[in-house]
């Protein structure tokens, strides 16, 4: 057991090192930008995994926190000097706003049953979208605005390394968070909320904590996203962002943290290549249809996601007897 754990740690470390070396050996600008994008969405998808995978909360409004980060950073870099100091400060401001809003929204809505909660998050998120569209003096609405990023990020490689660093840091922090005693209670809430209550855990507190952590991390992803484009408009607050995070988490494997990273990679690459195929055949101009098909197939055949399925196969190989017994039991039950 321990050795598999060690091996996976070494593999992860090797991958991170390889990714860190990548921009030094390759001069492909496209790949540097694409990977940066993947890392940013990995952070967003991991934050969504805290909600969906670990606490069992379905939110349709996660984009609002991503958007808060994006706007906080974009507005501050635009209005003040585009320096590293302001950049860091803007991330902190975005995270604080997202933390406060997710706390308030969570406190007011998480008492509700899951589907009502999902609907309400969609409504609140819609509210922020409308606000951003109407408050043109601040956001320039749907047209958005460009802004200058700190000088040092003109070098795409520097930005790539910064985002990779953030990804690793967020992964380690969230890993520790979900493996803490508090994280175990989050999983208990997902498994059986009523039972968790009867053990003496105030489940509402845990759901609010999960939603604040997810909101704050999503805001970081938003800040990084805005600077990577040096442009922001209301698209950062739309349902598409939430759905992307949802898809990445589900395809990669919920409740695994690594899964959403892989999911983000798969989806970003699929979007990149499928849209690129349009040159080959005009049918690929409608690449989104293929994307939909791939998604449906993935959910049908890999409901546990990529990482969940791989984990299950490993577990099956290790515990052949248990499987035999449990399937026998199922047979009897039928």
């Amino acid at each position: 057991m321990k050795s598999t754990f060690q091996v996976s740690k070494i593999i992860l470390f090797a991958i991170v090192v390889a990714l860190a070396i990548f921009p030094f050996v390759s001069d492909s600008r496209t790949w540097t930008i694409l990977l940066t994008q993947i890392f940013i969405f990995s952070i967003l998808a991991m934050s969504y995994d805290i909600l969906l995978g670990y606490t069992g909360i379905v939110s349709f409004g996660h984009a609002m926190f991503f958007g808060m980060g994006a706007y906080a950073t974009a507005i501050m870099l635009d209005r003040f000097e585009p320096t590293i100091g302001i950049f860091v400060l803007s991330i902190a401001v975005g995270m604080c706003i997202a933390g406060i809003i997710s706390f308030l929204v969570g406190l007011l809505t998480l008492r509700l049953k899951s589907h009502f909660f999902a609907m309400l998050t969609m409504a609140v998120s819609g509210l922020f979208l409308v606000l951003a569209e109407k408050w043109r003096t601040l956001t320039f609405g749907n047209d958005g605005f460009t802004f200058k990023a700190p000088e040092i990020f003109k070098d795409r490689m520097m930005y790539y390394l910064l985002v990779l660093g953030c990804l690793v840091l967020v992964y380690l922090l969230l890993r520790r968070f979900v493996d803490s005693p508090l994280g175990r209670v989050l999983i208990a809430v997902r498994e059986n909320e009523q039972r968790t209550k009867s053990l003496g855990f105030q489940t509402l507190h845990y759901k609010v904590i999960a939603s604040v952590v997810a909101g704050v991390i999503a805001s970081l992803a938003g800040s990084l996203y805005a600077v990577s484009l040096r442009f922001v408009n209301t698209s950062v607050l739309t349902m598409d962002i939430t759905l992307d995070a949802l898809l990445m988490t589900i395809i990669g494997g919920v409740g695994t943290l690594i899964g959403p990273i892989i999911g983000a990679g798969v989806i970003e690459l699929a979007q990149h290549y499928l849209s690129g195929l349009a040159k080959e055949h005009p049918i690929f101009e409608r690449w989104i249809i293929f994307f939909g098909i791939v998604y449906i197939l993935a959910v049908i055949f890999f409901p546990k996601g990529i990482v969940g399925t791989v984990k299950h196969l490993f577990w099956k190989r290790k515990n052949p007897i248990k499987i035999a017994i449990s399937s026998k039991r199922k047979g009897i039950a039928k």
Partner: protein, 255 residues
């Protein structure tokens, strides 16, 4: 002496149906009380009212003289009323040891610690292992709860209840649906808890020999009302009880 648990005119209505009707009862500290009654008598509902899963329409529950009205199930567990469920209610996709460890974690008030790895709380693990030994589930510690047999799940329920280390234990048909071979193990566990003399236990059961063997007193519910309350002997000799409930069932059980 103030009873540890007391109800006053406890009533709950579901629409027109009164499931628990004006029940006044009390149980002294470290007492073993069984609750019997035919199916639908309101026994589990009565437990749900005590543990806070349901809100009473009128009346109140008192724990050490303090009213529990308006207190959630979370607050009641923390005060010292723990319960097991009739329909097994565990965390299916967690391992057996993890199920128990969560309960131990709650008892140890390790609720919001978020930075140390849970495995570094070795004491939780040791306590959980000891509880699994008591209920004879050590060999299944690393199996997922969903893989357990019905009887094993009941044992897990009891381990989780014991882990909470509450003063009052509400046991809702701990042997329900168990095969005959599995019953003695559970019975032994309950006997052991009783022998330590540290807990107040309320037990809902249908197995009369078990009840006669264990109980200090028995209360009988019938159609939501308290029909009788007394020592096992008094209950056995009570004609109303025999007529309403024990007659058929007791004979059937002996046969």
């Amino acid at each position: 002496m103030e009873p540890i648990l007391r109800t006053e005119n406890l009533t709950i209505k579901f629409g027109g149906q009164t499931a628990v009707d004006n029940v006044n009862f009390e149980v002294p500290e470290k007492h073993f009380k069984s609750i019997i009654g035919p199916n639908g008598a309101g026994k589990t509902t009565f437990f749900n009212l005590i543990s806070g899963e349901l809100k009473a329409t009128s009346g109140d529950v008192f724990f050490r003289g303090e009213s529990l009205s308006g207190k959630s199930s979370v607050a009641r567990t923390r005060k010292g009323i723990g319960r097991s469920f009739q329909i097994t209610n565990v965390f299916p996709n967690l391992t057996v040891i993890e199920n128990v460890r969560l309960a131990v974690q709650s008892k140890e008030k390790i609720r919001y610690q978020f930075f140390r790895h849970f495995a570094s709380y070795k004491d939780l693990h040791i306590q959980a292992e000891r509880l699994l030994e008591i209920v004879l589930l050590t060999s299944k510690a690393n199996a997922f709860a969903t893989q357990l047999s019905h009887g094993e799940k009941r044992k897990l329920e009891i381990a989780m209840l014991l882990a909470l280390d509450t003063e009052v234990l509400l046991l809702d048909e701990p042997t329900a649906g168990m095969s005959l071979e599995e019953v003695p193990a559970i019975l032994d566990v309950i006997k052991q808890i009783k022998q330590t003399g540290e807990r107040t236990i309320l037990l809902i059961e249908h197995k009369m020999d078990m009840i006669m063997d264990l109980s200090d007193s028995i209360m009988v519910l019938f159609n939501g009302r308290l029909l009788a309350d007394g020592t096992p002997k008094e209950i056995m000799d009570n004609e109303t009880v025999q007529h309403a409930y024990l007659g058929g069932l007791y004979d059937e059980h002996l046969a």
